[in-house]
Symmetry: C3
């Protein structure tokens, strides 16, 4: 395969969006959190909130009847693929599920651009999960139909960041003025990196709580710093919990530790229990991208401040909004 790259389509996410919000997303790709400004985020959240109200009222409706989503997953992700499938079905559309595609290198099998150009003969929009950074941007360069990035390796997972932000706004009424504390594996967690970037568009404070070897990377901190956001790092939750409005917990994987006993040790200091919650504000939320392992005790699930299962539901509305918008039906 040569390295021939066609010119960017006019729908490219690298071009600035137009001013007219109502048509700004029609035919566009959703590749990176960096493509959004606050006006666009507000617009997405307004549409997502309408989706929430429609689902509460009628369950499903025929906004995207006759439209087809190709759900192309090169690596399994039950949660994300189920969420997009449900989003399309609640809007009356159909899905072509393509799971467990064996990832074959460019030299052995078909290139991603060819697969994308084949699928766009069958579908109106393509959701892509692929283990390689930049794969969604590559796909978008070739596709005439909108591409939605559902995770490109350690790159981005923009719909996750959008649903995280939407959860905060819906649960607490606004984002400005809040103190957001991120805890757990902040070094390798794609989720917290994207969310931190997106939060720099707001007037907030960021706390990072993690063991030293899992702290937020310097690169992200510099980006946050450059936007004038106040941030601080801690190894313990106790000093910052009382002032925290959003506690965003992530999974700490055993594999990150050379010494397994180190991982065991952490379970003491970094687990959220009903006891922990006593020191938290009455009006705050606990979030987690799931799956969790031991980071949040199941006893916390009954606490009304535990927002992580509602967070899954907000993800449905964000994905409904994005599908409707890129298909010109919002």
């Amino acid at each position: 395969m040569t390295s021939f790259i066609p010119p960017l389509h006019e729908k490219s996410p690298h071009l600035p969006f137009g001013d007219q919000q109502d048509s700004a997303f029609y035919g566009r790709d959703i590749i990176s959190v960096n493509q959004f400004d606050r006006g666009q985020l507000n617009y997405i959240f307004d549409v997502a909130h309408e989706m929430y109200e429609m689902v509460a009222r009628v369950g499903s409706f025929d906004l995207l009847k006759g439209k087809i989503l190709a759900s192309l997953f090169y690596e399994p992700s039950t949660r994300t693929s189920s969420s997009f499938t449900s989003a399309m079905e609640r809007l009356g559309g159909s899905v072509i599920p393509i799971n467990n595609v064996s990832y074959s290198s460019v030299t052995k099998g078909e290139s991603l651009p060819d697969t994308i150009r084949t699928l766009e003969a069958y579908a109106d929009v393509i959701v892509l999960r692929h283990p390689e950074v930049g794969s969604s941007a590559l796909a978008a360069r070739y596709a005439q139909k909108p591409i939605i990035n559902a995770g490109d390796g350690i790159g981005e997972h923009p719909t996750q960041a959008l649903l995280d932000l939407f959860t905060i706004q819906e649960e607490l009424g606004q984002v400005d003025g809040l103190t957001i504390t991120m805890m757990g594996d902040l070094k390798y967690g794609r989720t917290v990196h994207s969310l931190a970037r997106l939060l720099t568009l707001y007037d907030i404070r960021l706390n990072y709580v993690a063991p030293e070897i899992l702290q937020m990377p310097a690169g992200i901190k510099e980006e946050v710093e450059a936007k004038g956001i106040k941030q601080a790092s801690y190894e313990d939750l106790i000093p910052v919990l009382p002032e925290t409005d959003v506690l965003y917990v992530t999974r700490v994987q055993k594999e990150r530790f050379e010494d397994p006993s180190k991982h065991e040790e952490l379970k003491g200091s970094y687990v959220i229990s009903t006891e922990t919650m006593k020191a938290a504000k009455d009006r705050m939320i606990v979030m987690h991208p799931l799956p969790r392992v031991w980071e949040i005790d199941m006893g916390v699930d009954e606490d009304p401040r535990a927002a992580y299962f509602r967070q899954m539901e907000y993800g449905l509305y964000i994905r409904m909004a994005l599908l409707a918008m890129v298909l010109g039906k919002a």
Copy 2:
């Protein structure tokens, strides 16, 4: 993960059903054959018969339009998952297919309760197949949406038992007064255990035909005995075939025998052929949960008494009925 277990929801199958049949199943789980009484079975079969008539007349209809089924299979079962998918689609609903989920232990991956609580943000009803006994009951304890057990290991597979019973009623007009002969692997066959339990609600006779090492377990026989049902065990079909109204054949797997020649030997005595059928009543049926291997000769397929493929179709109507009922649309 701690062992915290939340209180049962009011929809729990462990609570007795109400008297009003039309709303008795709305929001309920379908976990075990033990949850049904005869009145409820009659109601399910009435609805299933209506489904049969509607499918014969119009193929599909929009009773569950806009509703979403999450079909969650932790182990493959093409027959059962296809049947539920078809049932949902014939009712105008949609499906989120989740197959080949790698089963990961509670310590390594996500717990079943968390998976269920995530999926119920996307779906209106969840069908669960899982290799562990009690998994569906566990799921039901956490879920707000109805759970339908599609097989929990060597536990139960209630929709199979319901479709077996419905087949008998539809094919022979009634269940009371019949002689049902079960043949094959009665020791390990989950299907015959559930069916035997369900049949104790009727006035029937049970014959068990199996080699001694594969006979019906003492526990099941005691349950049947306690309900006052006449039962008898045989090693050969010949003496009971002439009086049999329903011959329920099951698969005998080679793996059950330490001595493989023993398995070969059985093929002589436990296979149903056109020759065998000569000694059977004119009005009787042969059933099999499928897949069959050698237990029923393909020549028998053309015999009108061979009901096993029709049995698959009755399964569709039972699953349509259950989906409509738990979603409050029957």
Copy 3:
């Protein structure tokens, strides 16, 4: 399992079709390219062209609303299964996706006839991909519902041949009078064998361009010869390219060569580049069944004569036409 074979159903594709084209395909199977005459091909292409116009105008429509397709793939084929799924969904129908079915021999698992007879209790039409030659014909012999062959090993893949022919007709306005040059692996390529057979119904010329070890098999050439079609073999594209109306390129797999350096050597002589295209007619098309590896340079993709991605789209319309026809809705 005995070798009992029931009599053919009246819907068998081995019987000649009736004269009335509008009902000729209702309830029929699509098994082999040999079952079609020119009148039937014209009819299929007329319906496919209508599908193209309808999709261009409205995207999807409810011609097959309420109908269910069982998509049964014993080996993966993302392109073919996605195309059939899209075809069914654009017609308003539903799909039961059955992928990654582990192929088990007749002695160990369920026989194909039993699987088919089970699925037809749930679906209105079955698309079958299976690694064994003759599997679709076998399935059709047992099924009451229409079977569409989506590839039976090195046997046939009739919908591919139909879409290839439809692409030629749509792109160039007619098939008669054209010179079609097939290039690449002509020995093992199921696609070019079926297409060559189908082309013998037209007044065309065939050129075969391949290294000697990958030339068109003598058997196919004899069939073509018997129909009075002019054909000629070459090892190089240069002499025939200027007169070529359709250049049909296929993939040359490394595994076909005992000496890997031989494969490398070919890349020089059998690759289509922008340079190659300079010697081709202005009005001609390049086709490829995809996936391609190195046979067509990506630079050629922008050439309007590159028809291989449009070919994928024509496949959608052919499959929509066939589904509508066998379900009696064309």
